[in-house]
């Protein structure tokens, strides 16, 4: 095995699509969400290294444009199913920073009362059907939610996030077949960050282009530059429209990159520092900030204002989380049954 140099293989890492459009309000919103996520994750890393945050946390830093772009393309009452790398999805779907941060710290004020934690982070009241500690664990849930929508003749859609590594789980095959056969309103959104933990795609599959997997289900598929928030938004919007129109599921592969190691102690021996540098160059926040300024949608000061306020928000959320109490012992036995 040689360390793979994925930067050359990733066809989707194109320059930001200049034709995508967005309003000033939208631009500010996307930027704010991406910055919230980035700073949330950087803070998380900090809290972990200080042992204030315990347990595992799979950080979303680097992939912000995927969650933000995708969720910008759907309605607040639509559903998402998230993954073990779910902080970004939670923030983008409208979770409250305070409660998300508190949840990861296992506090009573967390959105799950401290019972879920990072791996099960979700404010389900926002239409987030949950992060999942089991890789591909959200596929069944998402497919069922889409079935539910269809049976109730609702016009909602579901975005089912999962990783390139998850693609090899059997349940993915079963759910895609079912969703396709029943023409369910679901978007299978593959967050392709080139690795499943330490294993490069080419090390676990002969076929590196996941879009081709959709052929097996007679389902449309495409890929998108996952560093470009507007490109992701527009690609998901197309899929969502298709779903709302009753034309069934689709697969979208968003090519992106995670900045941190898989776990705190991961030396990232399976990837090169050059590859990392390449992707840091294509940082989604940097790219979008530059684009906004360049096209005049936001001024440099306006971008700076978002930057400052988001820093502030994360500091406050952290303080809230740290200051919050642990759950009472009596909580151990609540919520097991409805």
């Amino acid at each position: 095995m040689t360390k793979s140099s994925n930067k050359t293989k990733t066809s989707a890492a194109k320059p930001v699509n200049k034709r995508s459009e967005c309003s000033k309000e939208q631009a500010r919103h996307y930027l704010r969400q991406m910055m919230h996520i980035r700073k949330f994750e950087d803070k998380m890393m900090d809290l972990m290294s200080k042992n204030i945050a315990q347990g595992g946390s799979h950080l979303y830093a680097g992939e912000e444009a995927v969650a933000v772009g995708a969720i910008a393309a759907i309605r607040p009452d639509d559903y998402i199913a998230s993954t073990h790398r779910g902080h970004g999805h939670c923030v983008a779907k409208g979770g409250k920073l305070n409660e998300l941060m508190a949840e990861i710290l296992g506090k009573a004020t967390g959105c799950c009362g401290g019972k879920g934690g990072s791996l099960h982070l979700a404010d389900v009241s926002t239409g987030n059907l949950g992060a999942n500690g089991v890789v591909a664990g959200g596929l069944g849930i998402a497919t069922g939610a889409a079935l539910s929508i269809k049976m109730r003749k609702d016009d909602k859609v579901v975005i089912c996030f999962f990783g390139d590594g998850a693609m090899n789980e059997g349940i993915v095959h079963e759910c895609m077949n079912m969703a396709s056969k029943w023409e369910l309103p679901i978007i299978f959104l593959v967050e392709n960050n080139l690795y499943g933990m330490s294993v490069a795609i080419a090390r676990s599959s002969r076929l590196e282009d996941h879009t081709k997997r959709a052929v097996a289900y007679d389902m449309p598929s495409s890929s998108v530059d996952g560093q470009d928030v507007l490109a992701v938004r527009d690609a998901v919007a197309t899929c969502a429209q298709r779903a709302r129109d009753g034309r069934g599921p689709s697969m979208l592969v968003a090519n992106t990159y995670r900045y941190y190691g898989h776990s705190r102690s991961d030396p990232r021996a399976y990837r090169t520092r050059e590859e990392e540098a390449y992707w840091h160059d294509r940082d989604p926040i940097k790219l979008f900030s530059a684009q906004c300024i360049e096209t005049g949608i936001l001024s440099e000061n306006e971008v700076k204002a978002v930057d400052d306020s988001t820093t502030e928000d994360i500091e406050q959320a952290t303080q809230f989380a740290v200051d919050s109490p642990m759950p009472e012992a009596s909580e151990l036995y609540t919520d097991v049954y409805a």
């Binding site: 967390g110 799950c112 019972k115 879920g116 949950g130 069944g140 069922g144 939610a145 049954y337």
Partner: protein
Amino acid sequence: MTAKETKQDQRILTYGQAINEALDQEMARDQSVFVMGEDIAIYGGAYSVTKGLWEKYGDERIRDTGISEGAIVGAGIGAAMTGMRPVVEIMYVDFMTLVMDQLCNQAAKLRYMFGGKIKVPLTIRTEGGAGRTLGAHHSQSLESWFMHIPGIKVVMPATPYDAKGLLLSSIRDDNTVVYIEHKMLYNTKGPVPEGEYTIPIGKAEVKRPGKDVSVFTYSRQLLFCQEAAEELANEGIDVEIVDLRTLLPLDVETIVESVRKTNRAVIVEEDTITGGSGAEIGMRIVEEAFDYLDAPVKRVAGADVPMPKSAALESLAIPSKQSIIKGIREVLQ
């Protein structure tokens, strides 16, 4: 309608028909109920339990799936989380092996993990047990696995009456219920009221009162226990039979009450003995009624082997009237 009243109604149905009727009535009553599984539509289910429902409710609410057990239960969970009350069928309990992640990691835990903010009102109907010489992949009893999953309920009715009432309760329950039928019970008959009625999940029933020894059992083994009790009655041995009906939650109160009365306990289960349901039931008795026990709790259970195909061996691998009688005699010594 109370259980007592309904029992006076003498309409006779088979166990399979009783289940079918429960599904039918609940689908008619509640639009959020639908059925999903393999060969349940035009085929009417491997054991004909869903017969006629597809003709009545159509493809939309009686959903044939591909052979994808994980997706069947997984989609059931997602639908249940978002407003539906799915009843999914896993053709044999042996194939529940394919859905343990969905059942144990998802259905059972989602509510807790999300701080009580969602519920998963899913019913998983499946069918187990030996008796048709189908061999090791179509004859298992895996209920003790499910008993070990906090967050779900486990129901195993033995009579047509209980089958209907407990299925209605299962569908209406806001939690995931694993409802396990027994392949040798489908053609057994008994009185079943026409109307809707529910039986509380978690309540055992004394199917035969007695004073000398308590036998705790469920599902098909109830019938063997009843035969054994009849035979022993001729010798003046008065056996109390408690049909547990629900394994999770377990009705410890009724169990303990019975042991306090008879001072002797036999547990009869078809499950392979080691790590079977009888271990838990037995330990509950030990924990809660030790001082009342005049003899060790006795388990009469399946042999610790994969189910052999041969009829000659299959009948030896599970409890029988004879082995139950032997077990009862043992605790009476």
